[in-house]
């Protein structure tokens, strides 16, 4: 799993990081954050997609192997959220987790759905 931030208020980032810590521990399902986009099967998108971040993130997204599953986390990544005005529409995703920011439990559900999708592709 690779986490890609597209310009946020930091709320979703912190909650995404919480997923790895003892209480929520996504590693139970064999999910692990990777440091390089080339190793990822799932991308977690957060943020409303600011102009500069989108420009750079395109290259990062292109490095991820083709049949990736994209999970949009938070209101910003789903629909633009409160920063909708003046920003480009966010990137398309396979799974949407709503909330500002979503509860870690909701994120876990999204991630489990992504794991299921990945498994069904093989």
């Amino acid at each position: 799993m690779f986490h890609l931030s597209l310009g946020t208020c930091n709320g979703c980032e912190i909650e995404v990081l919480t997923l790895m810590t003892p209480r929520f521990d996504a590693e139970r399902w064999g999910v692990r954050f990777v440091k390089s986009p080339r190793h990822a099967d799932v991308v977690l998108l957060t943020g409303c997609g600011t102009e500069r971040a989108l420009k750079r993130s395109k290259r990062v997204l292109d490095q991820i192997p083709e049949d990736k599953v994209v999970v949009a986390v938070g209101a910003c990544a789903c629909s633009g959220g409160i920063f909708k005005q003046g920003h480009k529409p966010p990137l398309k995703a396979d799974i949407y987790v709503a909330g500002c920011p979503p509860k870690p439990e909701a994120m876990l559900e999204g991630i489990m759905e992504a794991v299921r999708k990945c498994c069904s592709k093989d």
Binding site: S5, N10, T21, K35, R52, R56, S57, P101
Partner: protein, 374 residues
Amino acid sequence: MPSILPIGPYHPAIHEPEYFKVWVEGEKIVGVDINVGYNYRGVEKLMTTMEWQRCLYLAERVCGICSHAHSSCFAQNVERAGGIGVAERGKYIRVIMAELERLHSHLLWFGILAESAGFETLFMLSWKDRELIMDVLEMISGNRVHYAMNAFGGVRRDINRSMGERMLNKLHKFEGRMEKLKDIALSDEPFVTRLKGVGLLNPWHAEEYGVVGPVARAAGLKVDTRRDMPYFAYGDLDFRVIVGKRGDALERLKVRIDETFESIRIIEQCLGGMPDGPIRTRKMLVKIKGGESASSVEAPRGENFHFLVAGETKPKYYHIRTPTFANFIVLPKILESHQIADVPLVITSLDPCFGCFDRLTVVEDGEERVVDFE
């Protein structure tokens, strides 16, 4: 001839997109350029298009970690400009939320620092204990990150007696855990050696660059908005301002750990001395007379300053100066003559929050544009 080493905008050591251009000679750093703007969401411009009630939500979303600091600073500004009184009990609840926020923010930073120093276990332990505070926050407000507690003239939700008792229980449990964490961190020889002398900041440089918050206090400056310009209920409360001596990463760690204990003292005082009565003075705010006002609040990372030129139903102009922006300007100075391996550690030790400081807009000849550093 120094060569350029790019760090970011997407880099494993940094959790948010930001670009640092580092000039290196071998392993030694000779210069740093900070290139911000990847998180620019145009908060200040958006403010001027929204009514007061919606602005409050937007102010909260300047930053996810110090969300209460931003929204209370905004509320205080509007209350000052519009001459709205604040309920006494509301002021105490605001202080409680602010201190809880400081607790969770310092713990979060503690974990990230441990992670970037390579002490993964401490990262997990501190984030585990942080959940205690998150539980308290969720109990009071129903939310973990954006609490939506502030309203104009007070707060939205009350803290009743049984809540207060449960809260104190959790806080005392947390205090015990924090003592243990402090012991683990400061008795671990490799960890302490890794932090000692890294990211050194002299008091005169701190003063020159206008550094704020725990970074300034660790360098030996006694600055704290809570003490210097008391707001809300801080004037009635008794607390210590923690000041360090050497301004390195280790001292910043010590200052922040001690501040968490002080925050627990403040919350205890608030719960004990909270006056009864209403928590807010009005239900809705649609129109105010307009005017100008400025307010600053001590966010977990330092002084958070907001300036407002108010219209009747919405702000005419809004300016935010976040503590992270004030602290980050000093980064090139600190990083000089360090090794490349120290970069993530030094950046973390300043407690960066790019979400906060990416809002720079310049008005030139009446035309607004985002500054590009490239």
